[in-house]
Symmetry: D2
Subunit: 240 residues, 4 copies
């Protein structure tokens, strides 16, 4: 069983009727709903108003943390971002969606600005450039998102360990839309689609990719802490 | 002309006579001396007691910042670490030496704990596994460091973009001793040798590697800031 | 069920009594025996004298091909090496053991000389530098091989996509001993231990690593062929 | 002085008047002309009809070999492709242009099929995703190619060590258009633009990129051969 925690700041949906029309129960519950159809996944949700629930204990029990945030990144306490970072170091998986490129924990993990170019809605075609990757299973050569906020290069990220998807936008831009990193003992996946005003998280391919990513990011090995140990000489031990 | 700033916390040399005997003018001046022999390099030095000299203006004029720190990482103000990080994003080169693996700016850039295993002095043999790399020019298949603190795996760093040197220690350990990353617009090099009690920075190969690394890390392209711009559609521009 | 084919040239064991004493049934059967204990793995073996059994049909049914060769690389027909290469492109996993660094299919896949330095037997300590990797599961910080042929850097391989193990040799060398690559749709793992005169394949950690590697390299996605298709404009299709 | 050899099969230009109208002296001479404006570059050209001039001696004196081929890949003798491969292993730079993705030496170096999707002419926008890279100097955020053959993903190449350019095509495709690899001691760059019927090699940005790539690929270190040496124990030497 994979324990997934979905964090969504849940601000747009409450403040804007047009957004609420797209995600009546919030983006977090939309994601929880489709993940919940996978018998191997157990989901809980957290929002900005309940962000203090992301205690060390909850994070230690979380195999994969999914993060959606946009207008309220700064309201997430630094301490909680640091907790998330620490658990990724110890093995927890982390999936950053769309505007979470600018969330505190993602920027902390990347060590870069995570800056990009952006523009209002456009049509996107998502190309699968690594069909052998676990996250790409069930996805064809490409699929389409009729309306999505444009995120374009240069995306200021460290070189991805694996680049799985490339986004094409009708307006003329490209984007490294699906990127994997090993960070500490944890696995991190960034996936670009999912603006709050678009029904992106209802698209079957998007649901499949996020579900695949949960399986991929679930830790095989987890530590309680990462330390810098003083060690005796292994050679000495070898000789004894 | 490459403007290099060498930061050394300069604490051990002042507090411990045996360290002062190795580096009478401090590690920073030892490094400044050998770099100064390169006609293309202009060096200034900063220590913990003068760390406020690392203003934004000084960092903007710095092509490559070299960092040595060990016992006083926490005394470097967060604000200065953040300034360093910002300039690397904009293109400044950064070279972290030995125990600077735990310095604030290096950890900030890596986004990992940078933890490792360590042990008192041992003999090290440094293997050159990428002889075509600019930083490895003039270095043979390997060279030896008669006495060096042991730094061993697992070194908790993100996958290096280029792995140039591997360290072998007589006591039975190995280490990714020379690692390169592109971070933002800047180039980062970590080089493991250089414990304060060992005369490592007098070894010709070590001096050559650090000098090579300065040339490698000097920016070809530098920005004043990295932003996340709202853009018109390039396609629209293309059509006009 | 994962279908594994183990190729061993099986020459040393037949020609040299001291080798036969280590692997009485041949290296291939030693490997087949420990893999066979895994209920999810189905094994067949092939040797140089039966190498023609590596038909296209057999390779298409093979999920992971393990290769051990040393003195008879040149006796493997080019056509069979090319068949192996083609199936890796289509998704078959490939595990090259020890002196298979110089085998035809491995060199074909790497596109480099795969040259290294070598020396008669030495003690090796194998360091696990990526404990979160599927292939490293069940392996501690390091394990020891009392006697193994020394393989040392520079190992002329393309940058591994993932570097899982580093070998330390008492005589003073280091080696990238466990390396992963994505090649075409297939996954490739190179693992350095396993000289014919040493009982290396009886070591539990070695068996665990090879078993883990079989699971890791088994394809999630496989094609019948890889082509370079002429395509209509997807945009045109999108508009229609 | 960097010695560059430009190979162009030079078939289309001789057989088709419309192609000859674009490149009256052949693609090779167009490239030689703009490279020749760089005082540090010395150029010679070779075509399919003179391909035997690519002797071992000529290749050893060549710092960077540029390759353009399309309809006559198979007419290049295997022996010459192998010579090229060997010199890259020893340090020679290699730049593959456009349809040279299917040339013998490029495929030999990659160890993959180098398959891609393609379609007749389209508009391309080339995005610079690594503005700090030596090959991207002088190039803005993007530039445009009014007419170019579409090359689209999936491009079956090994993970690039550095991904510098991404191509966007109006028809809906994306492509990893500028890719770098370290192979052996040599540096390899693939650059997608340059169909024979388009005046692509007259575009200033394209000329700048190829010129930059020549400087980047020129070897700092070159060997006469790459061998697999039997070595004495360095430790023994260290102790003596």
């Amino acid at each position: 069983m994979i324990n997934v925690t979905v964090y969504n700041e849940y601000v747009h949906e409450l403040e804007d009727e047009s957004i609420a029309a797209v995600y009546p129960k919030g983006i977090h519950n939309c994601i929880a709903d489709f993940l919940g159809k996978d018998d191997d996944i157990n989901v809980r949700t957290v929002t900005l108003s309940t962000v203090e629930e992301l205690t060390e204990d909850v994070l230690k029990e979380t195999d994969v943390l999914i993060w959606w945030g946009h207008c309220a990144h700064e309201k997430v306490p630094d301490e909680i971002s640091e907790r998330v970072y620490n658990q990724v170091m110890c093995g927890m998986g982390f999936i950053a969606l769309h505007s979470a490129h600018f969330s505190k924990p993602f920027r902390r993990l990347m060590g870069t600005t995570c800056s990009l170019c952006w523009r209002e809605g456009d049509r996107e075609r998502m190309w699968n450039i690594m069909p052998s990757h676990p996250i790409a299973q069930g996805i064809g050569d490409y699929f389409e998102i009729p309306a999505e906020e444009m995120y374009g290069e240069r995306f200021d990220i460290p070189t991805p360990d694996e680049l799985v998807f490339l986004g094409w936008f009708k307006g003329g831009e490209v984007f490294r839309s699906g990127c994997c990193w090993n960070k500490g003992l944890g696995r991190v996946f960034y996936f670009q689609p999912g603006h709050e005003s678009n029904p992106t998280y209802y698209i079957p391919e998007v649901q499949r990719i996020i579900t695949n990513a949960v399986h991929w990011a679930a830790p095989l090995y987890r530590q309680l802490s990462v330390e810098c140990p003083h060690t005796p000489s292994p050679e000495a031990a070898f000789n004894s």
